[in-house]
């Protein structure tokens, strides 16, 4: 009988397609908006993600997120190195700097200075050149995601090519020179890491060279990256570092969460995306509920017929629930599939899109709940069927 119930649903093509489309659209909105939200949130802590060697990040107690740099004293590095349980501790410089391009134009960049000896904190994925090329004089590595912003014209004209017909901007290549704070910087490699939230180009160099490029301040140490030894749990070492130095020490995960928390609570991102997702759910629920309800109502005469022929109300309710679940199953996959396809199609663009398995499952759960509630409303109608009317119709 369930098969017949499903056929009653799918053969009513106009209503069936309407149902599937409305719910699929709802699933698409929920998945796509949430995936973009996740993608944006991941970008906020991309520096932490792209520094996998560091288990612990030590920073000023007032730091709220990865881009909020309150410099430490140089001696803090040595104090941390002296704590029991620390396998190694290296400095990291992170700050904004203006780069002067060869054609004379300027671009604000993120300058990241990594440990001179170990290059911990440096890019893990190189497209051109090697991380070890940073040993060369004035060497810097640039990230390829924002190469457009470092593009320049090789023509001698001081006018930018967008104002000259036929001229074009070119991406910098290995061997090109930039000026950072009036000091020469030679590009020795191009990396590809995670896009950043701020969308500034990232320039990597060694820690000491970064201090040379950075505008002078008394304190320039941004973070200390730490690895716990094999016998000390990272959380425990964080507490020890905090107790002994008064600095804030967070595991990688804690620092990611703190960064996300900052952006969620201090910016409008969470509320704005939350509202969009909520409206997706509400619109989907209203459309699907209404269409499913009208589908059941239009089929009430046939459900009454089945009841007269010997189908219990319980069986009719089960058939209705199965119809709703079938609609949910299809819509869930069409919606999430469409969202994944959009994500795949736009992966080379600036669109942020991250769709984990949990999002796929959560969307399914929401769609199933919408359909289940719609079917319950419809079932209440089934229990009120007047069978005696059947001989009068």
């Amino acid at each position: 009988m369930y098969k017949i119930g499903l056929q009653m649903l799918t053969q009513d093509k106009a209503k069936f397609i309407g149902l599937i489309l409305s719910l699929s659209f709802s699933a698409l909105i929920i998945t796509q908006q949430t995936a973009i939200f996740f993608g944006i949130m991941m970008r906020t802590y991309s520096t932490i993600t792209d520094t996998p060697q560091a288990e612990i990040w030590v920073m000023d107690p007032n730091v709220q997120h990865i881009d909020d740099v309150n410099p430490l004293r140089d001696t803090d590095l040595y104090r941390i190195r002296s704590i029991d349980g620390v396998e190694w501790a290296v400095p990291l410089f992170k700050g904004l700097i203006r780069a002067r391009l060869p054609d004379g134009h300027y671009q604000t960049c993120i300058l990241q200075g990594v440990d001179d000896a170990t290059f911990i904190g440096g890019p893990c994925n190189m497209l051109q050149g090697s991380l070890y090329d940073l040993r060369a004089p004035d060497a810097v590595i640039i990230d390829d995601y924002e190469l457009d912003k470092l593009s320049f014209t090789r023509a001698s004209s001081p006018v930018r090519p967008e104002f000259i017909e036929g001229a074009s901007l070119e991406h910098p290549v290995v061997g090109d020179t930039l000026e950072l704070n009036d000091r020469r910087a030679v590009i020795v490699g191009i990396s590809r890491l995670t896009r950043t939230f701020l969308t500034y180009p990232i320039i990597y160099t060694t820690y000491n060279r970064a201090l040379f490029y950075a505008p002078y301040e008394r304190k320039l140490l941004s973070f200390v990256l730490v690895k716990a030894n094999s016998t000390t749990p990272a959380e425990q070492l964080c507490e020890t570092i905090h107790t002994l130095t008064g600095l804030q020490a967070l595991t990688k995960q804690q620092f990611e969460n703190k960064t996300i928390s900052y952006y969620l609570h201090q910016t409008g991102i969470g509320v704005n995306f939350g509202l969009t997702i909520l409206f997706g759910i509400l619109i989907g629920a209203a459309l699907a509920g209404q269409i499913f309800f009208s589908f059941v109502v239009s089929n009430l005469a046939y459900l009454a017929l089945l009841s007269v022929l010997g189908a219990s109300k319980r069986l009719l309710a089960q058939i209705t629930i199965i119809q709703a679940l079938w609609v949910a199953l299809l819509s869930w996959h069409i919606g999430t599939g469409a969202a994944a396809a959009i994500g795949f199609a736009t992966q080379a663009t600036r669109t942020s899109f991250y769709m984990p398995l949990s999002l796929y499952l959560a969307t399914g759960l929401i769609i199933f709940i919408i359909c289940f509630i719609a079917s319950l409303i419809a079932i209440s109608k089934i229990y009120k069927i007047e069978l005696g009317e059947l001989f009068k119709q």
């Binding site: 009988m1 017949i4 056929q7 009653m8 053969q11 009513d12 005469a301 046939y302 017929l305 089945l306 009841s307 007269v308 022929l309 010997g310 189908a311 219990s312 109300k313 069986l315 069978l387 005696g388 059947l390 001989f391 009068k392 119709q393």
Partner: protein, 231 residues
């Protein structure tokens, strides 16, 4: 001696329309036997369909007793009543009432599937029956592709596929021409005789009265006349 299949005694039924109370059935007495075709005749609103609904347990009488195969169907719990109806009563409706979104075979198989007959057995039986009704080619067709007469034959097949002891028919020939009406009545007569079923037909169609073993004429909720063709 033939077994009594339906025994309605002193049935009364009224409906309220606004503040007005309409008495539809007044002290109706009515008996049928196995292997009997009974027709109920009367003008619109005389209470014919209400009698069918009470016999089928779709509505309850206000007073009196209606025994169907020895059971007081309207006092059975809802679940048992549905089960009893599904097993023992077949239905033919005035406007056929085939489900348009499922095939002819599926429409016909419903009573068997509701009694948990395995799918293959059910569809085999359906194929045999529909073949004997001249509908072998239409098993996988949808009802809308069939003519009125063919739809009515499918409706008969659905009513008798599970070999019920009673078949209730509401105006089975009202929208058919004489020839197709006669075909339908032959089929019903055949089923009555082969299965020893009781067939109760509500009709306005004087052309089919000759098929009846007994004719009840109802007027204003009262059985006015009983004619027995066999006598």
């Amino acid at each position: 001696m033939s077994l009594i299949t339906i025994n309605c005694e002193n049935i009364e039924k009224s409906f309220t329309k606004g503040k007005e109370k309409i008495e539809v059935l007044k002290q109706v007495n009515f008996q049928t036997y196995e292997n009997q075709m009974v027709m109920l005749m009367g003008p619109s609103g005389s209470g014919k369909s209400t009698i069918l609904s009470i016999i089928a347990g779709l509505i309850s009488q206000d007073s009196g007793q209606c025994l169907v195969l020895g059971k007081s169907i309207n006092t059975l719990p809802e679940r048992e009543k549905t089960k009893f109806r599904g097993k023992n009563i077949g239905f033919m409706f005035q406007n056929v009432k085939l489900i348009p979104t499922i095939t002819v075979a599926q429409n016909t198989a419903i009573p068997l599937l509701l009694q948990n007959v395995p799918e293959k057995t059910a569809y085999d039986k359906v194929a045999d029956l529909l073949s004997s009704f001249g509908l072998a080619r239409d098993l996988d067709s949808f009802p809308s592709t069939l003519s009125g007469g063919e739809q009515q034959r499918v409706s008969i097949a659905r009513a008798c596929i599970h070999k019920p002891k009673i078949i209730l028919c509401d105006e089975p020939t009202s929208f058919l021409d004489s020839e197709r009406g006669a075909q339908i009545m032959h089929l019903l007569k055949k089923i009555q005789e082969e299965e020893k079923a009781t067939i109760v037909i509500v009709t306005h169609d004087a052309r089919i009265l000759s098929y009846a073993d007994k004719i009840f004429t109802i007027e204003d909720g009262v059985i006015k006349e009983v004619v027995s063709n066999k006598e």
